[in-house]
Amino acid sequence: MRRRRRRPRLWRVAILVLAAIFFLGPLASAIRFSLEQSNGRDGLGNYTQLLHDAALSSSLATSLEIAALTTAIMLSLMLPTVVWVRLRLPRLALVVESISVLPIVIPPIVMAAGLATLQSHASAGLSDLVFSSPLTALTPVYVILAMPFAYRSLDVGVRAIDLRTLVDAARSLGAGWPTVLARVILPNVRTAVLTAASLTVALVLAEVVIAETLLYTTYPVSLVNAGQAQLGVAVALSVLSLAITWMLLLAISFIGNRGASRARIGRLL
């Protein structure tokens, strides 16, 4: 490999330039497009529209609430499970992991179809309890959608620490399970937790199919709606969404313990 340094360089540069054009082209166009204001002059008008548009900002608030709740439920459900499986049920590790990957087999639109059927058959009591607000209707499903990402990243984190010794030490000093999880394990796997949480937030802010089918106006749904009337604003918000998600993932790749975190993002599926 080392002897042939000079020749690979050429094709490497070629493919990287080609990729840059294909991938950065649309992004650069979107940025350029988003700066064109309706009055003909260039500026940030499309970006500040988010603050003035009640429909957009209230849907963003809804989505952020869902994201926070989804992350909280996901972590309190998945972290104990991952720890328990590694500690007590190592034989079931493969089974539990396979179950957590199941949502990948079910396309979002099919999940949406099932939920819509459930919604139309629901009794009045269940309807009021669950389907009356996007927060209670969408959060449980989004936890399911986040499972494949969350399980993988938490599992990588838990496997990297000496779980048994930590737990035994804490238990023999008299710690109960909640204390062990919150004060011993959690601080040791915070990178993995942060990764799982970021991926969950990114997922909630991107999911449009289920929310749209169930007729809830979350942020991505109102983004699509904005595209009908004010394309410039929709493009500006798209640029923002992509930039923020990318910053999130880039940050993860830096805070992680060196090489491991890159693999973590890479091996999610």
Binding site: M1, R4, W11, R12, I15, L16, A19, F22, F23, G25, P26, L27, S29, R32, P80, V85, L102, V105, I106, P107, P108, V110, A112, A113, G114, L115, T117, L118, H121, V141, I144, M147, R171, S172, A202, L205, A206, V208, V209, E212, T213, P220, L223, G227, L231, V235, S238, V239, S241, L242, T245, L249, L250, I252, R258, G259, R262, I265, G266, L268
Partner: protein, 303 residues
């Protein structure tokens, strides 16, 4: 579950001994919340889909919904389009993805290029959806930047019949997220190629082509094939981008499901939509099982 039990179980014995003793009864309780959650919130909707697909609105067992999806030309055509778009975008995405991954992998694992490409690939592969659709409209839409640029040099995209809000546009946008997904999937396998193999092959007189043909390609083949399968499943299940680009009247299976479920057709054909959903799950399940089998082959050399 006392502390003593934990200590006893954690004595440094060999794991095989622990395995022989089987799973203690109480240990199952630990994954009960997870199992229950999956059963209710994944099993619930899934049950509704399967039940609704196999029954009439009155609740009696029927095959009618499935026979509709096979006999009606619009559903057959949607299935053909969905399969076609999945094959085309996964082959294109797979080809350029492997190529790009090779270029990126030769840079060191901690180089800024690697970090930018892998985090960027993560964004585009998993979370692009709606923003991606708008980026393409801003580029190649009626008033898109590239459309205007091309008009200046004498190429009129609109007059030539190109429309970003069409299946061609969807295909282009899907390829855009398939390439980064392939990069993410294939990078670990490329990293597993040992430099010693290359040196050994060269030492025995192999050319670069010979090395690729006899060593690298056979070792990578299961991983590449597995990646292509995942790409296929990914495109087949995807809907967000095409929804934002074209809307629900797109001739793809997900579009028809949404039309049927939302009651946008004259007859009440909820069951047909659910039958289409079951068929989608079957296609993707087959793909995933094939992937799992291939993955076992792939890790033989590249553990």
């Amino acid at each position: 579950m006392g502390g003593v039990a934990v200590l006893e179980r954690s004595l440094p014995g060999d794991p095989a001994a622990r395995r022989r003793r089987g799973i203690p009864r109480g240990a199952w309780l630990g994954i009960a919340p997870f199992a229950l959650y999956v059963l209710v919130f994944l099993g619930g909707p899934l049950y509704e889909v399967v039940y609704g697909a196999f029954t009439t609105t009155g609740g009696s067992l029927t095959w009618h919904n499935f026979s509709q999806t096979f006999s009606q030309p619009q559903y057959r055509s949607a299935f053909e389009q969905s399969l076609k778009i999945s094959v085309v975008t996964s082959v294109l995405g797979g080809f350029f993805g492997v190529w790009l991954a090779c270029a990126v992998v030769t840079a060191g694992p901690r180089s800024p290029l690697r970090r930018i490409v892998s985090s960027g690939a993560g964004v585009l592969a998993y979370f692009a959806g709606v923003p991606l659709a708008f980026a393409f409209i801003a580029t190649l839409g009626r008033y898109g930047e590239a459309t205007i640029l091309l008009r200046h040099i004498g190429i009129d995209l609109n007059a030539s019949g190109f429309d970003i809000s069409s299946l061609t546009g969807v295909e282009l946008a899907y390829t855009y997220f398939q390439v980064p997904l392939m990069v993410l999937l294939i990078t670990p396998a490329l990293e597993g190629l040992r430099p010693e193999w290359r040196e050994a092959a060269t030492g025995l007189g192999a050319s670069t082509v010979g090395y690729i043909r006899h060593v690298a390609a056979p070792v990578l083949a299961p991983a590449i094939l597995g990646g292509l399968l995942l790409l296929f499943g990914n495109a087949f299940a995807a809907y967000a981008t095409s929804y934002a680009l074209v809307g629900i009247y797109v001739n793809l299976v997900p579009g028809w499901i949404q039309q049927l479920i939302s009651g946008n057709v004259l007859v009440d054909e909820n069951g047909v939509g659910l039958a289409l959903g079951v068929e989608m799950i079957v296609v993707i399940a087959v793909v995933m099982v094939a992937y799992a089998l291939l993955q076992r082959r792939a890790t033989r050399w590249l553990a």
